[in-house]
């Protein structure tokens, strides 16, 4: 049997003609590209030429899972979205979990590839004996949760027997940072992937859990490896907090290092009146009646549903925010009441935008109002720091593109550029238009450099996971201009590999040897950590090559003025990243094996990565 760990087929959907067909996921391609980000990158490179922009019908929207999905390794329902995204107009690599990957594979597919543009709004309905584009007019205007509820009713299915991944009103109205949300609370948020879905007039993908099986090459060994990963997650000091509380611990940890983005980077000081205990991980959880709502096969105490326990939204069921929610729907916009933040966070998931980008945008508008750069008349109302109802009103304006919402719907960068001047100087964005994560990256240099250089609409490497696996120091000082870029560049590849597995980035936070054992057991390959890294680097290189081909080069690899500014208070007051920026980039390029001048992966690297054709495309035949 050659189909271990794979369903073996890719579902192709041509929205223009309404045709759907299956295409073999060739065994030879599997090991080279794995799935998820890798498979998506390959499709993007091969099928989306430079003149096909994000909003062109021939753009591809790849919803892919990977070999671990549907298997008993924790957190393996993974979805990776790859497309030419609306924010950067370059490659996108963004993830959500839930049950997408598991349910899709039980239907017999490893990925869905959309092409074309539907004349009318549709949703894609998948079950293991049929695929159909169905009329979505009933679903229009519904938020993502309403969409799932409505489809549950239509299809008479409940629980995890139905996975729905959809766009909300934001995606329908082509808000540039629209996201794709699924299974109540799992969001693939980056680079306007929901905008692309909206442009293609696909409201949702509804997958009925199929009846097919996924085989593992060595099932017993797979259980054993899964147990070892779980054990590592539960006991390793670097993941134990995640295991117990998901990302809730982030608020206080990051605040301690000056990385909590308070009020649009205007301060790094915790407001005195805010009780710290409430914002500890356990405090955040104890504040709610909450219940586990785990992804496929996952044992983390991470994803939860909770009931708002006080205030105007008391009694409503919401998704427990990730750290990113606490910051984007909270700290960044000056909101510090967890009950309110948690509500706003779910509003964002339901309207379906990237919570980070919304935070930067809303925080920016708030600051601009305070400073008079955006008047009440401009906006239509007064939006003060921490005003959750106002933030929600702003969200509605953006989703409907009403009044100033129309401009804001273009995202922070374009809106700020439009306003220009002092207003622009307050805005947090990157020149490439990757939305920064919800941190104050002025104290986390690894993330700032990664966010500015990332080719997938966000960071490529992300926080260092078990760097010692690859001979790198366990940790480096977050503002060390030499070590940080070495770390980021040196670990480059690991994340892209993880993003190709159909698993969650949190549950793959295990030593690479252990993770590889699970992949070996699933696929039957003798993959080791070096091959994993090599594969990840291949994926990163290809996405970068794609972006270069789209005209996105090193000239846009820098932070906006505010994003790269120097903190005025708090733990790292006065420490400037921009003073070190060029040097850091030099080192990063060197470590990554990319050409500093052109931004291209060097030909010898491309050859080493078995990307002969890419080397030729970037450098010409004779290099």
């Amino acid at each position: 049997m050659t189909d271990y760990a794979y369903a073996g087929e890719i579902l192709r959907v041509d929205l223009s003609s309404g045709k759907t067909w299956g295409e073999k996921f060739e065994a030879a391609d599997r090991r080279k590209w794995v799935g998820g980000a890798g498979l998506g990158a390959k499709i993007l490179w091969e099928e989306v030429p430079p003149d096909v922009g994000w909003d062109h019908p021939e753009n591809r929207l790849v919803l892919a899972t990977g070999p671990l999905a549907g298997l008993p390794v924790w957190g393996t329902g993974g979805l990776t979205v790859v497309t030419r995204g609306a924010m950067t107009n370059g490659a996108t690599n963004t993830q959500a979990n839930g049950f997408f990957g598991a349910n899709l594979k039980y239907c017999g597919y490893d990925a869905i590839v959309f092409q074309g543009e539907s004349p009318d709004w549709v949703y894609l309905h998948i079950r293991d004996d049929g695929v159909e584009l169905r009329d979505a007019s009933e679903l229009l205007g519904k938020d993502t949760w309403e969409t799932q509820q409505s489809l549950e009713k239509t299809l008479n299915l409940s629980g995890h027997n139905l996975s729905v991944y959809s766009i909300g009103p934001a995606g329908e109205n082509l808000v540039r940072f629209a996201a794709i949300q699924g299974d109540y609370g799992h969001v693939a948020s980056k680079n306007g992937c929901g905008t692309v879905m909206g442009k293609k007039k696909v409201k949702a993908v509804a997958i009925e859990r199929g009846t097919k099986g996924v085989a593992a090459a060595h099932p017993k060994a797979l259980f054993a490896a899964a147990d070892d990963i779980a054990h590592s997650l539960q006991t390793d000091p670097s993941t134990r907090g995640l295991y117990l509380y998901g990302t809730l611990g982030g608020v206080r940890n990051l605040q301690g290092m000056g990385a909590l983005p308070i009020r649009n980077y205007t301060t790094n000081v915790w407001p005195e009146e805010v009780e710290t205990q409430k914002w500890e991980a356990n405090g955040l959880r104890e504040g709610f009646d909450h219940r586990g709502h785990q992804c496929s096969a996952c044992g983390m105490h991470h994803c939860h549903m909770q009931v708002i326990s006080s205030g105007p939204y008391k009694g409503q069921v919401v998704d427990e925010p990730e750290y990113e929610g606490w910051s984007g729907a909270g700290w960044t916009i000056g909101a510090t009441d967890p009950q309110q933040v948690t509500w706003m966070n779910t509003q964002l998931d339901r309207a379906c935008v990237d919570v980070n980008e919304f935070g930067w945008l809303c925080g920016w508008v708030m600051e601009c109002q305070q400073k008079g750069y955006i008047t009440d008349q401009d906006l239509g109302f007064r939006l003060e720091w921490g005003d959750i109802d106002g933030a929600n009103r702003l969200l509605e304006m953006i989703c409907k593109r009403e009044g100033m919402g129309d401009l804001l719907a273009e995202g922070t960068k374009l809106a700020a550029e439009k306003l220009g001047g002092e207003a622009q100087d307050c805005a947090i964005y990157t020149e490439v238009n990757n939305s920064p994560r919800g941190h104050d990256h002025r104290s986390r240099w690894e993330e700032m450099i990664d966010t500015c250089t990332g080719s997938g609409g966000t960071m490529d490497t992300a926080p260092p996971v078990f760097p010692t696996d690859y001979g790198l120091p366990a940790r480096v000082h977050p503002q060390d201009a030499e070590e940080v870029p070495k770390h980021v560049g040196g670990l480059r590849g690991r994340r892209a590999y993880e993003d190709s597995l159909g698993a969650c980035v949190f549950t793959t936070r295990a030593p690479m040897d252990v993770l590889c054992r699970s992949i070996q057991a699933a696929t039957g390959w003798d993959v080791d950590k070096d091959e994993a890294m090599q594969t990840g680097r291949r994926i990163n290189a290809l996405m970068r090559a794609f972006n270069l081909r789209c005209g996105i080069g090193p000239e846009v690899e820098k932070p906006s003025r505010r994003y790269g500014s120097t903190p005025v208070d708090g733990p790292i007051a006065g420490v400037s990243i921009m003073d070190q920026w060029e040097k850091m980039l030099d080192i990063w390029y060197e470590t990554a094996g990319y050409d500093r001048e052109t931004g291209r992966p060097k030909p010898e690297l491309l050859r080493e990565l078995d990307l002969e054709d890419v080397a030729e495309a970037l450098w010409g035949a004779n290099v």
Binding site: D129, K153, N156, S158, N161, R209, T211
Partner: protein, 440 residues
């Protein structure tokens, strides 16, 4: 030692034997009077499909009967009962005295009364010999007419198709499965069959069967003739009741029994297709010519014959049949005009659900859908559980009205399982027949 005499070694008779031995381990005399070696008729379709060998059909062989110390008079037929003398009289004149007598003579197939019905290559499908006759006549390409589109006809339909026959189903009524599902369900099944190359002729009244060379020519009151190689008559059954006439037993369609499976005559019990006993839902007396009823009757009768007081809650009408990978099941009073009905069709699957309520109680149900899909749910058994227990699910009614497919959560939340768990038919945990042995 008490002497139990059992007439008929089908499902009811055999279950009575094992139950007696489970309870007394040999402490009684059992005489089985049966013209066939014990087997369950409902296994015959799998024999026809050539899934199983002849030996697999029999549940008990003579050595096994002997091992259970059963005095088996195989091939013998009971002719009449002398209740006042406590005697059973066999064909040929032998007499058997009894302390307790169990009548479990089942039913027989009835052919449509048309000229030619008794001709060659026209068979019922009810007994092992009949099954053999059909089996030897079907094969790749054979043209077969199935007269009657009732439940029994459908139990052998898969087997026939698997043998590669060209099948035509002929039904007198305007639709198929008239006594198992309603019009809506029947329509879906009929389309399903047509799509799969099985021809169905409804409202077709057979007039005669004539020979045409080696073939059979079926003539109808209306419509074109049909030429086939073999005819199967699945046109109904009747209880084997004639022989008890004059015994003083009260009969209606079957022999009337109470909740202990006792007849009106002392020490005489009846079980299975022959018995007309209480219905679990209505409490009224009915003949349920189905396997589970025969099995339960046999067990309950035996327990009472063994001196235990075991009252039977009553039997539930239920059937399940798979037609070319479409599952069709119905429970209880699925055809009740007085019930409140919630139903829904999902044409694209296809799937159909019908729930019948009296107040907060589910009294009947139909479930129909693709085999590949139905077993991904718990619904078949849960519907049975809801109908059987009659548990109050008023709180779920509105939900089920909107979505009759979502029974699982209603079942779980109703506490039906909790009510059922202490329940056993014989007042004790069941054991496997393989564990039953006589001690000596």
């Amino acid at each position: 030692m008490a002497r139990h005499v059992i007439v008929g070694g089908g499902t009811a008779g055999w279950n009575a034997i094992t139950t007696l031995r489970e309870l007394d381990q040999g402490d009684s005399e059992i005489i089985l009077v049966a013209d066939e070696t014990p087997y369950s008729r409902m296994v015959l379709p799998y024999y026809l499909a050539r899934d199983i060998a002849e030996s697999h059909v029999y549940i008990a062989s003579p050595p096994k009967l002997a091992a259970l110390s059963v005095d088996a008079r195989l091939g013998a037929r009971a002719e009449k009962i002398d209740a006042s003398a406590g005697k059973l009289i066999l064909e040929g004149g032998d007499e058997v005295e009894y302390d307790n007598l169990l009548i479990a003579t089942g039913s027989s197939a009835v052919k449509a009364p048309v000229p030619g019905a008794d001709g060659e290559n026209v068979h019922s499908f009810w007994t092992f010999p009949q099954a053999r006759a059909v089996a030897s006549g079907v094969g790749e390409g054979a043209r077969v007419a199935m007269i009657g589109a009732g439940f029994i006809a459908f139990t052998i339909l898969n087997a026939l198709v698997s043998q590669g026959v060209k099948l035509t189903v002929v039904e007198l009524e305007s639709r198929i499965l008239p006594r198992m599902i309603d019009d809506t369900g029947a329509g879906i099944v009929q389309d399903w069959l047509n799509d799969r190359g099985v021809e169905v002729r409804t409202s077709a009244q057979l007039a005669s069967i004539e020979d045409k060379g080696d073939a059979k020519l079926l003539k109808f009151k209306e419509g074109p003739d049909l030429e086939v190689d073999l005819v199967i008559m699945a046109t109904g059954i009747k209880p084997n009741i004639d022989w008890v006439a004059g015994s003083g037993l009260e009969t209606n369609q079957g022999i009337l029994v109470d909740e202990y499976c006792r007849t009106n005559v002392e020490n005489i019990y009846a079980a299975g297709d022959i018995a007309e006993g209480p219905d679990a839902v209505t409490g009224e007396k009915v003949v349920h010519a189905i396997e589970p009823t025969a099995m339960q009757h046999g067990r309950v009768a035996a327990a009472n014959m063994a001196g235990q007081e075991v009252a039977y809650k009553g039997s539930l009408l239920m059937n399940i049949v798979d037609v070319l990978d479409m599952e069709i099941a119905s429970f209880g009073a699925w055809d009740d005009a007085d019930a409140e009905v919630f139903e829904a069709v999902r044409a694209e699957r296809p799937a159909y659900r019908k729930l019948l309520f009296h107040g907060g109680r589910l009294t009947g149900a139909i479930i129909l859908g693709k085999t590949r899909e139905i077993w991904t749910t718990n619904d078949v058994g849960m519907l049975k559980g809801l109908v059987y227990t009659g548990v109050d699910i008023s709180e779920w009614k509105e939900h089920l009205r909107e979505n009759p497919f979502d029974v699982k959560r209603a079942f779980l939340a109703s506490g039906a399982a909790g009510g059922l768990l202490p329940e056993t038919i014989l007042g004790r945990p069941s054991i496997s027949a393989h564990e039953i042995a006589v001690s000596s």
